[in-house]
């Protein structure tokens, strides 16, 4: 079903972080951008459509708006808004937002770091854009807060508009509704280390729609598609929930080890999962309109021998190609459908 393509070499290997791969396809320029986090650096590669030309850039973590830092970067992700695309980096010190090609940093937000160091690590993690009733970027923190930034159409006048406090454990991932249809009420889902999921409606004041309780396992990656919450857990299980009612649609014993990454291809309903067990799996979600049931079927498995997968992303909205990163691997492995 899928064939492995030539890998893209990156300047340093991938750190063992959740969701450690972000992909931005730029259809008009026939380019695809990739980012992979390694310690205090983000390796950015832009690949030409023919797969022949690559250009590399490295972004570093900052302390304040100027000084380079050795603080670790926890996640890097593009946020696609109607008017602009921003690249957001979260670290142990704060949040950095860049223009999409990483050329200019437009915003820096410092995390509240307690004066007396406590046992608990301080960092930001979980990045998603929300576009209903305004343009926002949501970023999670290790305290469980979700920071909501209001983003202007252009320029650097980004402001922190709200802080959402419904989680008590470090945020692991935040996702936005990926379906192009406007019918779905839920806009954002946030997940944390305990496995709790919160469903939100975006706006001037974000509204908590539902809390889906943890079942005993950490949720490392979450996606939202057509009102369905797709959550990947440390137990290796994937669960599908209804975003508004919280009802479980499906439970999949998907992987033998901790899931590190999930991605959804919104145009086809294909789901991609990557875990520490070295396997990458493709699933297909379908909604039956009459019975309102959601089904999921397994389509394909790829084994990246002896590699703990830490990032997995589709490269296009149909899901005809995907890319994968592995811990301590200095390449982005790519697959295309045959």
């Amino acid at each position: 079903m899928y064939r492995r393509e030539k890998s893209i070499q990156i300047k340093s290997s991938a750190s063992a972080l959740y969701n450690n791969l972000s992909v931005l396809p730029i259809a008009e320029k026939c380019l695809t951008y990739f980012t992979v986090v390694h310690c205090n650096v983000v390796n950015m590669v832009s690949a030409s459509g023919d797969g022949l030309n690559f250009s590399h850039r490295q972004l570093q973590s900052k302390e304040g708006s100027i000084a380079a830092s050795s603080s670790l970067i926890i996640q890097a992700s593009w946020c696609v808004l109607p008017s602009r695309v921003l690249l957001v980096l979260t670290s142990q010190k704060g949040i950095q937002m860049y223009e999409s090609d990483g050329s200019i940093m437009v915003y820096w937000h410092a995390l509240d770091i307690p004066e007396t160091p406590s046992d608990e690590a301080v960092f930001a993690r979980g990045i998603a854009a929300a576009t209903t009733l305004g343009h926002y970027i949501c970023v999670g923190t290790s305290s469980g807060s979700v920071l909501v930034f209001k983003i202007p159409d252009k320029g650097a006048n980004i402001i922190l508009s709200e802080v959402l406090e419904e989680h008590w454990d470090p945020i692991t991932d935040i996702a936005t509704e990926t379906s192009s249809s406007k019918e779905y009420i839920a806009d954002i889902v946030s997940a944390d280390d305990s496995g709790l999921l919160c469903i939100w409606k975006a706006g001037k004041d974000f509204k908590l729609l539902k809390k889906i309780p943890a079942y005993g396992c950490s949720c490392s990656s979450v996606k939202l598609w057509c009102g369905i919450v797709i959550a990947g857990y440390g137990s290796g299980q994937i669960r599908l929930y209804d975003a508004l009612s919280g009802v479980v649609h499906a439970e999949v014993n998907a992987h033998a080890r901790w899931i590190y990454a999930l991605d959804i291809a919104p145009d086809s309903g294909k789901l991609l999962s990557g875990a520490e067990d070295s396997l990458v799996r493709i699933w297909k979600l379908s909604k039956s309109p009459e019975s309102h049931t959601v089904e999921i079927e397994h389509q394909h498995t790829e084994c990246v021998t002896d590699v703990q997968i830490c990032g997995a992303k589709f490269c296009d909205p149909e899901g005809s190609a995907f890319a994968v990163t592995g811990y301590d691997l200095s390449e982005i492995i790519r697959y295309t459908v045959v």
Binding site: D193, G216, N253, S278, T305, Y327, D328
Partner: protein
């Protein structure tokens, strides 16, 4: 409790693994086939899944009332077996995992002493009651080295001390089998009793000890005397 430990281990692993492995090869890992010659650690797609994880392959689908309406299976691409038991977090108990054990030990035990069972508590009590038989021998050796004990040869060979740098006799034998034959053996002789200078020094120190207690005539009880002296200190 289990979630807390797994999270702690995972966070711990994140913090430590955020650096590079740099493909360092460790000989015992290579020998045990835990690491490849390219430096990557072996991630088997077979064997037991961890406690808390199910064997991959089952999909269960539910309706809005929570009733299971469909079940399907998919090939998991591996050869997984049932989850491991949960290890004990008590002071004594089976840990199940090898984490924390000595990776250089041949037998690699995973059990700690079980003080709860009647069988072991009996042996525990027995151990406490009987003095360590080696202690007396060790003190006799000390006394002999200090030059104040007549060597009384028992029938058969001298029961001296044999130094074993491994944890058990089996490990020593195993290492001897594995030892490449091209390495030659070198014997080092240590003559602890015959160095005149050190003997005088020891005699002087021994003299400082001889204060109150009367010296017993039986050579074998020198060990007892030293024991009593040390207890008195």
């Amino acid at each position: 409790m289990c979630l807390f430990w797994r999270l702690t281990l995972q966070t711990d692993r994140h913090c430590r693994s955020l650096g590079c492995l740099e493909s360092r090869k460790v000989s015992i890992f290579l020998k045990d086939k835990v690491q490849n010659s390219n430096g990557r650690f072996v991630l088997p797609t077979s064997g037991p899944v961890p406690y808390g994880t199910q064997i991959p392959g089952l999909i269960r689908m539910f309706n809005c009332n929570g009733d299971e309406v469909k079940k399907s299976e998919f090939p998991n691409g591996g050869n997984y077996t049932s989850p491991l038991q949960e290890g004990s977090f008590d002071l004594y108990g089976g840990r199940v995992l090898k984490l924390g054990t000595n990776m250089y030990s041949v037998s690699r035990p995973v059990e700690t002493h079980m003080s709860g069972t009647s069988k072991s508590s009996a042996s525990h009590a027995k151990e406490n009651a009987a003095p360590n038989p080696l202690a007396k021998e060790e003190l006799n050796l000390l006394a002999r080295l200090m030059g104040h004990l007549e060597v009384k040869k028992t029938t058969g060979s001298e029961s001296g001390f044999r130094v074993n740098l491994f944890s058990t006799d089996e490990e020593e034998e195993e290492a001897a089998i594995l030892r490449p034959s091209e390495f030659s053996y070198q014997f080092i002789n240590i003559q602890a009793t015959q160095d005149q200078q050190s003997n005088e020094e020891l005699a002087r120190i021994m003299g400082e000890f001889k204060e109150e207690d009367s010296v017993s005539q039986s050579p074998c009880s020198k060990g007892d005397d030293l024991l009593a002296m040390m207890d008195g200190l």
